[in-house]
Amino acid sequence: MSALQEKARELLASAAVQVVIGYGRGSGGAARAVFIREATKAGDLVFDGTCLQNLAVYLMKPEVRKLGKAALVVRPATLRTILQLAAENQIAENSLLALVPSAEEIVLLATFAAIEAHVAALDSDLSTAEKAELQRFTALGLDERRRFWEEQFSRCLKCYACRAACPLCYCTRCTVECNQPQWIPVPAHDLGNLEWNVMRAMHLAGRCVNCGDCSRACPVGIPLYLLNQKLVSDVFTGFNSRSGISARSDNALSTFKPNDPEDFIR
């Protein structure tokens, strides 16, 4: 039994939590989310390079919340999601345990402060490769960028898998569902798709923790991560602000500095 399985078994057996949300083996060698509710099933848990989903998305699902206190197997982005959700008043202190799997020992984070401390030791910046890709993309001409996104968005089905997979898209009424006025066209035509994707990116600005689940969820492979990383980068360089590093921080866009840059304003 792996350390993770052992820890999960212990938490369930001691009733410290009612459910362990982790990864299990799924179809085709992939990992999938599992909800372990009995200590005897702890052996179903796995953790390896295939375990990518940001399981914090389930913290917002009413059916999962009903199961009781949860221990969540986390990746770094998951921890940042938890803090961001806490900062947005969505999860309460002491409502969950975070299980950080590692080779030697399972680290158990029980408080937001502990998660904050853990996250502080991580590099929350975009990776070098991510920065390079952004750089490469930004260097393209305006028309090239426009054509690229028009082609990408023309394939968008508006299946909302990006939204469903995103733990920060927890709104019970999405802007796209507001029809008085109809902010965003419901049909998945080109204009509607552009507006939908711009809206979603803007609504994640200063909030997205770059977990990448939206891109992974997109059935037609639109590189949504580029949009999010662009905004992560802009919010950091512009406002020195990062999402998901504190359970109490204000959102970059609901705060300001009197000396924010304004070279584009006449």
């Binding site: 709104c171 902010w183 866009l253 609901s254």
Partner: protein, 671 residues
């Protein structure tokens, strides 16, 4: 069923000279939902307004668009006319075809077309307007003034004299504040206490003022007109009702070598003490930190000598709750102390003192009874160097601002010194002299010219001791940057005025904003200088920024006037152009998801958390709620809300969205 009336004004020829008003009226009539469209020479005239009123009554209009001048000009006029005809005034909009069209464009089709566009836009808007009712908030006509310095005293007296109850909260054992410590005041050199103490007594005796001295604000909830304050009355260790203020206890107290706060550390006081003889209330407190009994469990001498048995060693802090309708913040300022100026030896050399200490030296009631003597050896200093801008206007030290009062009090100090030590040599190091104010420049000039104070323009770089003298090294920038060394007996630093140490904490309790230096922020730097961004909380005095006495008093009276105006009605009536959060029937209750991004964005702390509970009391969700008493209607929250759950009346999502679409659909009209 929209039945919109459009009323197009010629404004004499101001509009009709460049806009074909007949065509505008004809085109407006074709807009779906427009039931009535007319033009008239002067719509704002009585007959013009009558046209509007008659049409409302006769045609049963559900909305009115007056295409005329700017709404900033006549919106109230036409809204009133609508109301008189029985139409909710908020169902009237103005299409600005004068300032924004006829006056700024040449005569021609393009101008007329634009006028039609504007009318169509406003028709689209008004179709989405909702009948709104003014917001009424009850007002508790009791003011709380926090801080009993001159600003707080003035505000309290003005409000109390206007006939309203005032609760004055002072954290020190006596009111009076910094002004009570001052010797003389510029520019008249009248005695500070002589003008202040009568006011203090008036406060104590005023029937409308309840004074809580030695007390601090614990918390403040609620909103304009309806605050709930909790005030902590710190334990004086004394029954105030029994105490007569005879002073026996303070005379007999054996712990007598405690630095006096009132004397800025230059004098001493006992453990049971009244800060100064004219204190209000004239009741002592026991400083439990220094009291022998509290430290050792023995003594109780004061208890023994007290003729009225007023001493209460076991007294606890007491929390007093009060309903108040308005708050005036008058918590004053502090000055920079300690190791902020290591290069000046402040805190290291006893004869490098700050301005407040000099005030005590110069004060007839001070530790030297008004004689200027060095703290170190009590000698009368022959040479005194006054250093202005000690810390102020020094971005490197983090204080970019000017402390404003130092130029004047430094001139005063130098004069006072010269008046008391006729042979003394006062020097003043300064950067610029800021003497804007009635009789201020004259005052400074007197110091220079009549009293022979030596003004040296330049910064002091270092102060160090050499052979019993304080060597002040500086540069005289007016004399070709000549380095300068003055051997002084006393150095007085005009240290920067800063916010009170607890300013930030108090601001957070009150939910008022403050600047980078923790000075409280006014609602508008020009037009609302005595209001905070939190409705019902006003500012007076140096808690907003360093100020001198007349300014503090003026602002206090201003704040008092604001309070009195607020208290002039039993209900606060406001335009309903405020934000509202979606509420709907169960099971949804509200589309708000409670992320509270709006809360941090709101400049007015108008967004509260509301817990929605089921019949069994179970918490269903926590959602945002706009306090109509606080919201000013900027709509910043609206643009933040991802679920579009918050909307602003008068500029709602539906209204502005309809405007954008209507403005741009000219192409369809032409097609």
């Amino acid at each position: 069923m929209a039945r919109i009336g459009v009323f197009i004004c010629h404004c004499g020829e101001n509009i009709s000279a460049t806009v074909d008003v007949m065509k505008v009226a004809a085109e407006a009539a074709k807009i779906p939902g427009v039931a009535h469209s007319v033009e008239y020479k002067y719509m704002c005239s009585d007959p013009g307004q009558q046209l509007v009123k008659n049409a409302i009554r006769e045609k049963g209009l559900t909305g009115v668009v007056v295409a005329a001048c700017s709404p900033r000009m006549h919106e109230p006029t036409f809204r009133r006319a609508c109301a008189e005809a029985g139409l909710n005034p908020f169902l009237c909009e103005m299409a600005n075809i004068r300032e924004h069209c006829s006056w700024v464009h040449e005569k021609g089709d393009a101008t007329t077309d634009k006028a039609i566009d504007i009318v169509r836009t406003l028709v689209a808007k008004v179709k989405k307007n909702k009948a709104l009712q003014p917001i009424k908030v009850p007002v508790t006509k009791v003011a709380m003034v926090i801080g009993g310095g001159i600003a707080g005293i003035q505000a309290s007296l003005d409000i109390a004299n206007a006939g309203h109850q005032v609760i004055l909260v002072e954290k020190e054992p006596s009111i009076g504040g910094h002004m009570s410590q001052l010797s003389e005041t510029f520019p008249t050199l009248d005695c500070s206490q002589c003008i202040l103490t009568p006011r203090m007594v008036e406060v104590a005796q005023h029937l409308n003022i309840t004074l809580f001295s030695y007390a601090e604000l614990e918390s403040l909830d609620g909103f304009i007109g309806n605050f709930k304050a909790r005030i902590r009355k710190k334990a004086r260790s004394l029954d105030e009702k029994l105490c007569t203020g005879c002073g026996l206890c303070t005379q007999k107290c054996p712990s007598r070598r405690i630095p006096s706060e009132f004397d800025a550390g230059l004098g001493l006081r006992p453990a049971i003490y009244v800060p100064f003889p004219q204190a209000v209330p004239n009741k002592p407190v026991i400083d439990r930190e220094h009291c022998t009994y509290y430290r050792t469990g023995k003594c109780r001498l004061c208890e023994k000598v007290c003729p009225t048995q007023a001493i209460r060693f076991d007294q606890q802090d007491e929390i007093v709750e009060a309903d108040v309708g308005a708050v005036v913040l008058a918590t004053g300022f502090d000055i920079k102390h300690g190791d902020f100026f290591p290069e000046y030896g402040y805190g290291k050399y006893r004869d490098v003192i700050d301005g407040l200490q000099f005030e005590r030296l110069a004060s007839a009631s001070g530790p030297t009874l008004g004689e200027i003597r060095r703290p170190s050896d009590g000698r009368v200093p022959e040479t005194v160097v006054f250093v202005a801008c000690a810390g102020s206007r020094d971005p490197a030290k983090g204080i970019e601002y000017c402390s404003k009062i130092c130029c004047m009090y430094t001139a005063k100090h130098a004069m006072l010194y010269k008046h008391k030590v006729h042979h003394g040599k006062p020097y003043v190091f300064y950067m610029d002299i800021r003497a804007g104010g009635k009789m201020y420049e004259e005052f400074v000039r007197r110091a220079m010219e009549e009293d022979g104070v030596q003004y040296v323009r330049g910064r002091v770089s270092r102060i160090f001791e050499r052979g019993g003298k304080l060597v002040v090294k500086g540069v005289d920038t007016l004399l070709a940057a000549r380095p300068l060394e003055i051997e002084a007996d006393l150095v007085v630093l005009a240290t920067a005025g800063i916010a009170q140490p607890g300013a930030e904490e108090l601001a957070q309790k009150l939910h008022v904003s403050y600047d980078a230096h923790k000075f409280y922020a006014e609602a508008h730097p020009k037009l609302r200088p005595v209001e905070t961004n939190t409705a019902g909380i006003f500012l007076a005095g140096a808690c907003q920024a360093p100020k001198d006495i007349p300014e503090s008093v003026a602002q206090a009276s201003g704040a008092a006037a604001k309070v009195a105006a607020l208290f002039s009605q039993s209900e606060l009536v406001r335009e309903p152009l405020i934000a509202v959060v979606d509420r709907q029937a169960p099971p949804v209750y509200s589309s708000c998801v409670g992320c509270f991004l709006c809360q941090s964005a709101c400049p007015y702390q108008a967004i509260e958390k509301e817990e929605i509970r089921g019949r069994d009391g179970q918490l269903l969700k926590t959602v945002a709620k706009v306090n109509p008493g606080l919201c000013q209607g900027c709509g910043t929250c609206v643009a933040f809300c991802r679920t579009k759950s918050i909307d602003i009346q008068g500029f709602s999502h539906e209204q502005v969205h309809a405007e954008v679409l209507a403005l741009l659909n000219r192409g369809e009209r032409d097609a």
